[in-house]
């Protein structure tokens, strides 16, 4: 499609996407606000309706409609329920039953925001899709690639959730919040035209599990049974009974439901034996992992070992490591052991201030 200055902004009703739309309008883009109607757990619809925290509730759609009016851009609510259910919710459920800890935001970015919404944007004659992510997308002529640079607001940087975007997607994405130094600066802009909006709290929970009880969510939305099983020690000895593997995540200490006389941590989830392996704090640290479904942004593929930094979860600190190509997976050797390397979570690589790429942490 031919380049133009029309842009569809995914409007959640929150501060970030609102300011993103506002900035783009100021910059002279032809902005269209779109609220994505996503799949909701039927049982929880009342909760969605009443609360105003998350990004997917009806009241949020109304907020998005209101701010679009204030900014002076057209607003539409569009249905993305089916694609969201298939690519985000079903994946989320499957991952837990596979003993993994999923990252639904990454799946949503990949398949919903920057695939389904981008397609819709093109159908509306827009070359671009924009979001309120804290990240900078630039074109680097020296390598002829679109690159992703970390946000100036360190605390809020969201490049972690963008590692698997392709060149073809990046070409069509705008992230106007990348240059903001802090969330406070973003709030200040919002306060200029909508005081209620500028005071809205951040949403960080899983938007389709409004009460944050993901186990209850799995029970309602999966026909698989959550069977009790054994807690094992590192030698394989049974030391207690667990409530079903979906209740646990690697590195977890609290909420095991049993006391052992010393602090015990989940160090492995063994789905084939329906067992949870517990160890002490030192067992939670590992130096090596394998990453699957890798995607690179600074280059088309990893041809030879490379030294870089990596994060094993959104909230982790970047740690130095070396990455090795091994067929279609990448082996990661950290310079120092990392705490709670969790299958299903994303490992994201950085080269200084730039997003290098990333993948999904493999089991075993």
């Amino acid at each position: 499609m031919e380049k133009n200055n029309r842009v569809v902004v995914g409007m959640s009703g929150g501060v970030d996407s609102t300011v993103a739309a506002y900035k783009l309008k100021e910059m002279g883009y032809d902005v269209i606000g779109v609220n994505m109607r996503l799949w909701q757990d039927e049982e929880m619809e009342d909760a969605h309706f009443e609360r105003d925290g998350g990004c997917c509730s009806l009241s949020s759609a109304e907020d998005a409609r209101r701010v679009c009016e204030q900014i002076g851009i057209p607003f539409y609510a569009l249905d993305f329920k089916d694609v969201f259910k298939e690519t985000v919710v079903d994946y989320f459920i499957d991952a837990y039953f596979k003993g993994e800890t999923p990252n639904p935001c990454i799946a949503c970015n990949k398949y919903v925001k920057f695939e389904a919404l981008l397609e819709k944007a093109h159908a509306l004659g827009a070359y671009y899709v924009a979001t309120g992510h804290y990240a900078k997308i630039k074109y680097a002529s020296e390598i002829d690639r679109y690159v992703v640079e970390k946000s100036d607001a360190d605390e809020k940087d969201q490049t972690y959730a963008l590692y698997n975007l392709t060149q073809n997607q990046l070409k069509h994405i705008l992230m106007p919040l990348g240059d903001f130094k802090s969330k406070e600066d973003v709030r200040k802009v919002a306060a200029g035209f909508d005081t209620a909006m500028s005071r809205k709290s951040d949403s960080q929970e899983i938007c389709f599990v409004p009460d944050q009880d993901y186990v209850g969510f799995l029970k309602r939305n999966s026909d698989k049974t959550i069977a009790k099983g054994s807690f094992l020690d590192v030698e394989g000895k049974v030391i207690g009974e667990h409530q079903g593997i979906v209740n646990y995540t690697i590195g977890q200490r609290k909420g095991l439901g049993v006391t052992f006389g010393k602090p015990m941590y989940v160090i492995d989830i063994d789905t084939s034996n329906n067992a949870i392996v517990l160890g002490d704090n030192s067992d939670v640290f590992k130096s090596t992992l394998m990453a699957k479904d890798v995607n690179f942004i600074l280059m088309s593929s990893l041809e030879e070992p490379m030294h870089c930094t990596a994060k094993v979860r959104y909230s982790a600190k970047e740690a130095p490591c070396t990455i090795y190509p091994e067929g279609d997976v990448v082996r990661v050797e950290f310079d120092h052991p990392q705490r709670a390397i969790t299958p299903g979570q994303a490992i994201v690589f950085y080269k200084e201030n730039y997003l290098l790429g990333g993948g999904t942490i493999k089991r075993g």
């Binding site: 057209p74 569009l78 819709k120």
Partner: protein, 350 residues
């Protein structure tokens, strides 16, 4: 430029109606009661119904609910089976479905692929324990006229009541009372929102003391205006509808138009554009100042696939690419020409 082509959703209130409502409000409260009587008798006369057969409600949804509840209450000793067509409006469907909790069985009567009730199949579905049948006059999404006369002839000797949702029909055709109850709504015929009515062939035990007499009177004035100009209005709408369909079929891309006959709704055109999804088409038209609707938009604007198109056997993907244009009495030739010009641009990807 703003062009409104969503008259099946709601219509602009005409000046005469606004004036009539204003006039009622000008009167002291104790002098307003006469207007309710005047509106009731007036509407009865306009639709050729007997005295004391029309009752006001707060809108079309309440009119449907009241009629359905009344039939079920009066006939509950006879059985628990309720028949509704598969293309009824949500207000009829949901009112009936609510009775499932009380052990009632709601059976859908299928339509053929042209959007008209399969009358032979419907007759077969009528059993001795059927206590109510609901069939609409014109469908609100595709505009098809339903065989209410034939169905009523069949049901009458069996003593099974028929409720007809005539919300899209009043003021659009020479409507006569058919069935045991009919429901109407004022805002579909350039009247105010917030007022509807029921025709009933038997007295309804209902107190009308809190009915808004100004709105009821506005309803009557709107209907009077619609009936006085009925032939001219219908001819005008049919002419514009034919023009729109002709122009759509002549666009360079393929566009399918759902069946429409002379006796169908004069202003509803349901269109399927294979190359564009429904949302995208609605939005692109909206950006060009043209208001239409896609599927059944809920309050949040979320669009679900039309149950009407599904009932007609259309697959999901095709149904998602369908939109509804609905023409009103104030629509002009120039409006249609502009819409066609914009559609031509959009479908060519310009």
């Amino acid at each position: 430029m703003k062009i409104y082509l969503d008259h099946a959703a709601t219509t602009p209130v005409s000046k005469e109606v606004v004036q009539a409502i204003y006039d009622v409000y000008q009167k002291p409260v104790h002098e307003r009661t006469g207007y309710l009587e005047k509106a009731t008798r007036g509407i009865e006369k306009l639709i050729g119904a007997e005295n004391e057969s029309v009752y006001f409600a707060s809108g079309g949804t309440e009119a449907n609910a009241l009629a359905i509840q009344m039939h079920i209450e009066n006939n509950k000793h006879r059985g628990k089976r309720i028949l509704i067509s598969s293309i009824e409006h949500a207000s009829v469907m949901n009112t009936c479905r609510a009775y499932e909790k009380e052990g009632y069985e709601i059976v859908e009567m299928p339509v053929c692929s042209d959007g008209v009730l399969d009358i032979e199949l419907a007759k077969e579905l009528v059993t001795a324990d059927t206590i109510l049948v609901c069939l609409m006059y014109y469908n609100n999404e595709v505009g098809t006229r339903q065989p209410i006369e034939t169905l009523f002839e069949y049901l009458k000797p069996l003593g099974i009541p028929l409720h007809v949702d005539a919300i899209q029909a009043l003021g659009k055709t020479d409507l006569k009372p058919i069935g045991n109850t009919m429901s109407f709504s004022a805002h579909k015929l350039n009247g105010p929102k917030g007022i509807g009515a029921i025709y009933s062939d038997k007295p309804i035990n209902r107190c009308d003391c809190s009915i808004n007499e100004a709105l009821a009177y506005g309803f009557y004035v709107a209907l009077n205006r619609a009936i006085q100009n009925l032939d001219a209005n219908v001819t005008h709408m049919q002419m514009l509808k034919a023009k729109l369909i002709d122009a759509l079929l002549n666009l360079s891309v393929q566009i399918d138009v759902i069946r429409t006959k002379a006796y169908d709704h004069p202003g509803i055109v349901n269109v399927h554009v294979p190359s564009l999804d429904g949302d995208a088409l609605v939005i692109r038209l909206s950006m060009a100042g043209i208001c239409i609707s896609s599927g059944s938009a809920c309050s949040s604007g979320a669009i679900s696939v039309s149950h009407v198109l599904k009932a007609m056997g259309m697959d999901m993907a095709k149904a998602k690419r369908s939109v509804r244009f609905s023409i009103g009495i104030e629509t002009t030739d120039a409006d249609i020409a502009y819409v066609v010009m914009v559609l031509d641009k959009i479908t060519k990807g310009l």
